[in-house]
Symmetry: D2
Subunit: 97 residues, 4 copies
Amino acid sequence: MNATHHGYADDQKKIIARLNRIEGQVRGICQMTENGEYCIDILTQISAVNSALKSVALLLVEDHLNHCVKEAIEEGREVSEAKIAEASAAIARLVKS
Amino acid sequence: MNATHHGYADDQKKIIARLNRIEGQVRGICQMTENGEYCIDILTQISAVNSALKSVALLLVEDHLNHCVKEAIEEGREVSEAKIAEASAAIARLVKS
Amino acid sequence: MNATHHGYADDQKKIIARLNRIEGQVRGICQMTENGEYCIDILTQISAVNSALKSVALLLVEDHLNHCVKEAIEEGREVSEAKIAEASAAIARLVKS
Amino acid sequence: MNATHHGYADDQKKIIARLNRIEGQVRGICQMTENGEYCIDILTQISAVNSALKSVALLLVEDHLNHCVKEAIEEGREVSEAKIAEASAAIARLVKS
């Protein structure tokens, strides 16, 4: 773990806990499908997972802006523009996903 | 597994395979977070999982319309309106997720 | 207006009223941009328009299933499969938009 | 127009042009609905407008990060945290819209 590489140190445990729960939800959806459960019930669970994943992603975006992007700008590093372009591209992928 | 309850019989194996892969992807994202990998790389993976889940959901929607909804309408069952309302609500949840 | 072509006859006035309101909202966003108003305020309005458009779209989807798709299936028309494939493709575009 | 309030000065003309085009698209969708055109064709246009609006929004997000947020951080203003929280909330509304 490298403090200079990620900005979610303060939220790391929370994010891991949420991702573990999401992994369990996906496993549950897989099991529902194997059991031949009703399409609509599976769809409802998939929508719930999508929302949960987006919440995790939005937390990561905020942490990234608050740390990685903020530090790049504070240090006046030439990379600050590249950092913002990179963050914007990641946000675009999320919005379109 | 109850043929009268689900409409994805023909795609069941494909859906299970895709969900298994998605479960692995989520586990991988969890591992990346534990390793303190870079925020942007995690965000990219989350966006990929969202897209993959939406693809599975859209396949389920089509199967549901082609079987569950179609059969309800063909049988002229009174439930056909309820069936369409139920499908529409599931599609709305997906669109908003 | 051709009753055989569209399924939103009962909601037509409501949909037109909503689209008129959305058109006004987009014009307002355009005006905000010309006035050099704050980015975040413009973004908030764009998100509101997106949600409003999705609501109209979901109403159209439900009307389409309830009328166009239902009639195609009831008439046992060969086109019923094509009709469902067409609806599914439209739902997919909406989900991915 | 106030340079301290918005970060999209360089893209203002482009954004206005795109919003004007989107306004015209919404007017066209309204007209299609009045003409009783086919549900699916209207849905396709709505999805296109959603994508176009998201593109404008993502351009605004990048401009906002590159100017408003960057300046707040560079000036070491106490408001920089509030600025990032505000941007994150706007991104969240966009992602969920």
